[in-house]
């Protein structure tokens, strides 16, 4: 498949001045956005039979098109659902259509609520994931790492590298991201040294994360891939649940990802980063204010009771204010740490996890998965035992090393 055709189901982007941004994001990943043609009679029939009696005609059209795609009246490789941020009617349609398409077809689908400030850059990672699932399903089905490969995850907070050989991790490298290329070169050197191999011995390299393009071009990576699909693969590989359903949660430094996975391939996913009060960055600030290293925050939180401290701000500034007030009121550091973890987990739960179908096992990955208090808070909210696999903080790098091992074979049609 060369050019991926993405059907757009939407209300409002052309009137918000962001349709061009959507088109540009799709074009950047060699995809084409199109509005599926549908007969007027089918609009009426499909809308009525779907049963969600909304009033906005553009939403009625989106529903009719969704039914057309699922029932085979219309053809597409993937689906992009976009409606205005803050519109309740559209939010209901967006969620129901995403669920309907996911449950009744194999079409990859992503939804997004935009404002007039939405840019193609904001949409790029989502479009890239959408087209990857459509275009490289065979690659994503890969379950074993073969040969000697390396993965580099250039994240917003930290940079990680992994060297793998014949399905085993043999080298790791981890550093806070400062200078993008410099941090990547340093972690690669550490991972290679630990693995006891030279750069030229590596058969394939994959990059992911915010700095994936810059690092990927610099080190001539074989595969440059967004973190949604890569993290999904890494998570199910490390948690050893490549068959069946799973849910992957990655609370990152700058944004959070929640991915519903089936047989190792992402189905629906959300990627949010509107408010820093729901990010790993807030936990970093909490640990600084409490005077502990971030690695000590989790054990501290596990000794506290979150309900003793009111804290649930979307905003990192107001969240920190709550934290300072709680300490000034005489609350223990343990309770404050627990409240901070609960606050982040609760907001991810409320803002993002409602948009994906949570299916067990729930796997938490990324650096924040090492904060025990956060994992417990999320487990309490979801009423499940969260899985945190070994090497979970290296998830992107593991996924990149795994996918890179199959990429050359995939390219050659093997």
């Amino acid at each position: 498949m060369s050019r991926v055709r993405i059907a757009q189901l939407s209300c409002g982007p052309e009137y918000s001045g962001v349709q061009k941004e959507i088109n540009d994001a799709a074009a950047a990943v060699d995809a084409e956005i199109f509005f599926p043609d549908i007969r007027l009679a089918d609009v009426r029939r499909n809308f009525t039979s779907f049963g969600l009696n909304v009033r906005s005609p553009d939403l009625k059209l989106a529903i009719a098109r969704a039914k057309g795609l699922v029932e085979g009246q219309l053809e597409a490789d993937a689906v992009f659902i976009a409606t205005c941020f803050r519109c309740a009617e559209a939010a209901i349609v967006r969620n129901e259509l995403r669920r309907y398409i996911h449950e009744n077809s194999t079409l990859p689908v992503v939804s997004y609520s935009f404002t007039e400030r939405t840019t193609s850059g904001t949409l790029l990672t989502r479009m890239e994931a959408l087209t990857t699932i459509a275009r490289r399903r065979a690659l994503l089905a890969r379950e074993r790492q073969e040969g000697l490969t390396m993965g580099v995850d250039s994240g917003s907070s930290t940079t990680k590298a992994i060297v793998m050989q014949d399905n085993r991790i043999i080298g790791t490298g981890w550093l806070p991201t400062t200078e993008v290329i410099g941090s990547a070169e340093a972690v690669m050197a550490t991972a290679l040294k630990e693995a006891g191999v030279n750069r030229e011995d590596i058969q394939a390299v994959g990059t992911t994360g915010y700095g994936r393009f810059l690092v990927g071009e610099k080190i001539r990576a074989d595969l440059i891939q967004e973190e949604l699909t890569v993290n999904s693969k890494g998570a199910v590989f490390l948690a050893d649940c490549q068959k069946g359903p799973a849910t992957v949660i990655d609370i990152g430094g700058m944004d959070n990802k929640a991915i519903s996975v089936q047989d190792g391939i992402p189905g629906t996913f959300t990627m949010g980063g509107i408010c820093a009060g729901a990010s790993g960055r807030f936990l970093e600030m909490t640990s600084k204010r409490l005077g502990v290293d971030i690695t000590e925050l989790g054990p501290l939180a596990l000794k506290g009771m979150s309900r003793n401290v009111p804290m649930n701000s979307y905003c990192i500034v107001f969240g920190t204010q709550s934290l300072v007030n709680a300490l000034a009121a005489g609350n223990s550091r343990e309770d404050v740490a627990a409240a901070a973890c609960h606050s982040v987990a609760e907001q991810v739960f409320e803002q993002q996890l409602q948009e994906v179908d949570i299916k067990e096992p729930v796997i938490m990955v990324g650096g924040s998965s090492l904060i025990g208090g956060l994992v417990k808070a999320m487990g309490d909210l979801l009423q499940t035992q969260i899985v945190v696999p070994q090497y979970s903080q290296y998830i992107g790098a593991v996924g990149a090393a795994l996918l890179a091992s199959g990429y050359k074979k995939f390219q050659s049609g093997g």
């Binding site: 009137y15 349709q19 061009k20």
Partner: protein
Amino acid sequence: MANVFIYPATSLILSDLVARFGHKPLGSALSVREHIQTAGFDSPPLQITPEDAKKGLKYAAVEVPSGVRGRMSLYGPLIEAAEGAIIVNDADYAFGCMGCARTNELIMFLVRQRGIPVLDLNYPANEKEGEEFVAAIKSFLDTLGETA
């Protein structure tokens, strides 16, 4: 000749009727054409830019979805310029269709706030009602011509 706002604003039939009876129809064709013919923008398909959603703040507050404000940047000025309005309720999609129900509610409210003559009609269900529909529009527009 009076400026007559039409609803649905996308209705070419309604626009044509107003023009045939000697008045200036104010609808999507007019406002969208202005946008599309404005040189220098590259924001297909309607050439509406994020700036238009900000212009819509005149009619709807910032917490209102951007799609509503963008639409109001098109229709708000038309309502302000209108000397009369024809509103067709529950129109068939083929007659003319306005995509956002919230915008439509606001348009209806603003039209009535203006205090201009308004003709409210139900979409005709058969040929007889269709004839009455056209006759009512003609009669309204004739009256409007006398007062304009």
